[in-house]
């Protein structure tokens, strides 16, 4: 019987060895893994993989293997793997996840791999330098604007103020069309947070002032009240997740969307005849969120040098230019001029670029490393307002005290 078990263990071991062998078929090459949610996206994922293939073709010692993990699963999965001493070598981190991984020392400083003086980085690069150390380079920067489908708006003109926006959205709703769409569910909590943060910034508020949490400040209360007003006004397709409503948008069934330039790029790629336009978001304040994703090295990596080679390749002129083209109305780590032909073909690119001076990362300023915790609390509480009709002020007071307690504890 011990023979039996030994045989089964051997079989299992043999199976895994055989599989491990098939995994590193590229003999003699160092394979490094690069996990990102963008690899899973329609429209951009395949192009990004092809972009990485160009790097692989230029190398005979290193191969980068893209790992697509959906946006909603990336943090859970990668964090578990990192905590267990493993995980992908390179990660494209969302800003909140980046700052959550930082204090746990899960991201490798890369000052020795990247000579910053060689590159002209964009301004938000400063967020990736924490206490004098560089924890990655910018992968993607994207602004938020109002994207609209002129064919669905009376007169084809976008609204400029919030009351106008509500009225326009109501007019555009009906006959299977909807005036607007945003996220408001737990499974999409990161996207929900992004959408909500745009309202908060747009109404002149902030989650924190750099020293104190301001989750229940008057401006935030005003913004969340506006969010609730939109939620209740019958202009959004309730229950449709971002995958569904974005598809509806490029199928011509949604009139307006406040979303980032990457999404605008997806719309353009999926339906070149849609003819959508972009305009500043219809809020009192011009300030909107900023998508800031980093390309960072996992502290558990055994291939630090190879990661460095890849990062330096990414920062070269040609790959940067191509990456910016793939990402849509987004910018990359370094300043890359947008080709004139692109701007003429897609005027919305210029509208997004003009938003840059008013763009602010969707973080809790001064509490960056606690953003993920605070996000969880705020999302849970705001849902009580949206679907449970709880009082806005009281609920946000509760969010503030819960968040304070959570911060004190750690």
């Amino acid at each position: 019987m011990s023979k039996l078990t030994r045989r089964s263990m051997l079989a299992a071991a043999g199976a895994s060895a055989a599989l491990a062998a098939t995994r590193s078929f590229a003999q003699g090459k160092t394979t490094i893994t690069f996990a990102a949610a963008t690899f899973a996206e329609a429209g951009r994922g395949d192009k990004l993989k092809a972009w990485i293939e160009k790097f692989n073709a230029s190398q005979d010692k290193i191969e980068v293997q893209p790992v697509a993990i959906s946006f909603s699963q990336l943090a859970n999965t990668v964090f578990t793997q990192m905590g267990g001493g493993g995980g992908p070598d390179l990660v494209r981190f969302d800003q909140t996840d980046f700052f959550a991984a930082l204090p746990a020392k899960r991201i490798l400083p890369i000052d020795d791999l990247v000579d910053a003086s060689k590159y002209s980085f964009q301004a938000p690069d400063k967020f990736l330098n924490v206490e004098g150390k560089r924890y990655g380079v910018v992968f993607e920067l994207a602004n938020y604007q109002l994207i609209y489908n002129p064919a669905l708006l009376k007169g084809g003109e976008p609204p400029k103020t919030f009351p106008e926006f509500i009225a326009t959205a109501k007019e555009a709703t009906g006959k299977g069309n909807f005036g607007y769409a945003f996220r408001a569910t737990m499974p999409e909590r990161s996207g929900f947070w992004q959408d909500m943060t745009n309202y908060v910034y747009g109404f002149g508020g902030n989650w924190a002032d750099g020293k104190q949490l301001t989750l229940n400040s008057p401006k935030v209360v005003e913004a969340i009240t506006a969010y609730k007003q939109v939620y209740d006004s019958g202009v959004i397709p309730k229950g449709a997740d971002a995958a569904t409503y974005r598809r509806m948008f490029w199928e011509g069934k949604i009139a307006m969307n406040i979303d980032n330039g990457g999404v605008a790029g997806i719309f353009a790629a999926q339906n070149p005849n849609l003819g959508f336009k972009a305009a500043p978001s219809p809020f009192p304040n011009r300030q909107q969120g900023l998508i800031l994703t980093s390309l960072s090295v996992n502290a558990n990596t055994k291939n630090k040098e190879a990661c460095g080679v890849f990062i330096n390749w990414v920062l070269q002129q040609a790959p940067q230019q191509e990456l910016q083209g793939i990402l849509g109305a987004a910018s990359v780590a370094t300043q890359v001029e947008r080709p004139k032909a692109d701007l003429e073909r897609a005027p919305w690119l210029g509208v997004y670029d003009a938003q840059t001076p008013y763009a602010l990362p969707q973080l809790v300023l001064g509490f960056e490393t606690k953003t993920l915790e605070i996000q969880q609390i705020v999302v849970e509480q705001v849902l009580k307002i949206l679907v449970g009709n709880a009082d806005v002020q009281k609920t946000l007071d509760e969010a503030q005290s819960l968040a304070l307690r959570r911060i004190e504890r750690q």
């Binding site: 019987m1 578990t80 905590g83 569910t185």
Partner: protein, 316 residues
């Protein structure tokens, strides 16, 4: 085969196997169970023990090596949290409803499919298909069917001209749990129906006919002839469905992740949320320990109940 049978009936001077005094029987049992015991010790026992110790610490998912001992704080927090009380309440409702609906629907299906009719074999096979469908696929199709605008449920309701409008099932705190329950029961009722169909084979025809002769109505026949036979099976099914409901994760996670506002948050969803979303492994472990305790209590109650019934029947 017949040779074996013949030999088996032949007289033998050997003692019964279990009482054997030969060399092998002393160690054989241990050798037989050793591999599985070691296997479970490594892949279940050790992880469970570490969870137990984790539950007394504050530990981040990102840096498990930096665990900090906090005593009973995690348990104390759970005991004083009203959110956790509602998690327990949701778990109780979900579990009891799963037991009641999966077993009663399964029993209904079993009674329908028990007596012969043309195509019975095919019908019995087809009705079990939901049980064979992967939970993640089931969750995916139900999310789509329950979609507010384009889901077939709402299309059907509209056709029936019910004044319900676009109900966003999974976003409505009052409807999300019933929707998840419906999905769960759809998936698991075939199991109880299969098991109950087998149990129905044991129903004595004589008792049934005798009851019929006495002019008993259908319900009385069921009560006298059918129920006593299948009652132990029903009890066992109830135990299984309870344990499965306490551990069910993928279906609920893919459909709602416990939302909206915690309306579908059962113990396992709470555990996963604390561990992998809030990244507090210590708190998650404490939730797990509470869940495990509940499952053990349910099992003890089951064994106590079955033994009591067996004893009662033995006395009769």
């Amino acid at each position: 085969m017949s040779e074996v049978a013949n030999a088996a009936t032949a007289p033998t001077g050997r003692p019964p196997l279990s009482g054997g005094r030969d060399r092998e029987s002393r160690w054989t049992p241990y050798l037989f169970v050793a591999p599985v015991a070691l296997y479970l010790a490594l892949f279940q026992g050790y992880p469970l023990l570490s969870e137990f110790f984790l539950s007394f610490t504050q530990t981040s998912l990102l840096a498990p090596q930096d665990a900090r001992f906090v005593g009973l704080r995690n348990y104390h927090d759970l005991a004083s949290s009203s959110d956790f009380a509602s998690v327990l309440w949701t778990t109780a409702i979900y579990t009891v409803a799963c037991v009641v609906f999966a077993i009663s629907l399964g029993l209904g299906a079993a009674l329908l499919l028990d007596r012969p009719f043309r195509g019975r074999g095919l019908a019995r096979a087809l009705v079990t298909i939901p049980w064979a469908a992967p939970p993640v696929a089931v969750a995916t199709i139900f999310v789509w069917m329950l979609n507010a605008q384009y889901g077939i449920f709402n299309h059907a309701l509209k056709l029936m001209d019910l004044e319900v409008g676009y109900e966003s099932w999974l976003d409505n705190p009052r409807l999300a749990l019933p929707a998840i329950l419906f999905t769960t029961v759809w998936q698991i009722f075939p199991f109880s129906s299969v098991v109950l169909l087998a149990a129905l084979q044991g129903v004595s025809e004589e008792v049934r006919e005798a009851a019929q002769m006495d002019g008993a109505d259908r319900f009385s026949i069921f009560k006298v002839a059918v129920w006593p036979t299948i009652q132990p099976t029903v009890a066992l099914l109830a135990l299984f469905v309870t344990i499965w409901s306490l551990r069910r994760f993928d279906l609920i996670w893919v459909m709602t992740q416990g939302g909206p506002i915690g309306a579908t948050k059962t113990l396992v969803i709470e555990l996963y949320t604390r561990g992998f979303v809030a990244r507090e492994l210590g708190e998650a472990a404490a939730v797990g320990m509470v869940g495990l305790t509940i499952a053990l209590v349910v099992t003890f109650v089951y064994f106590w109940y079955t033994q009591r019934t067996e004893r009662a029947q033995g006395r009769r």
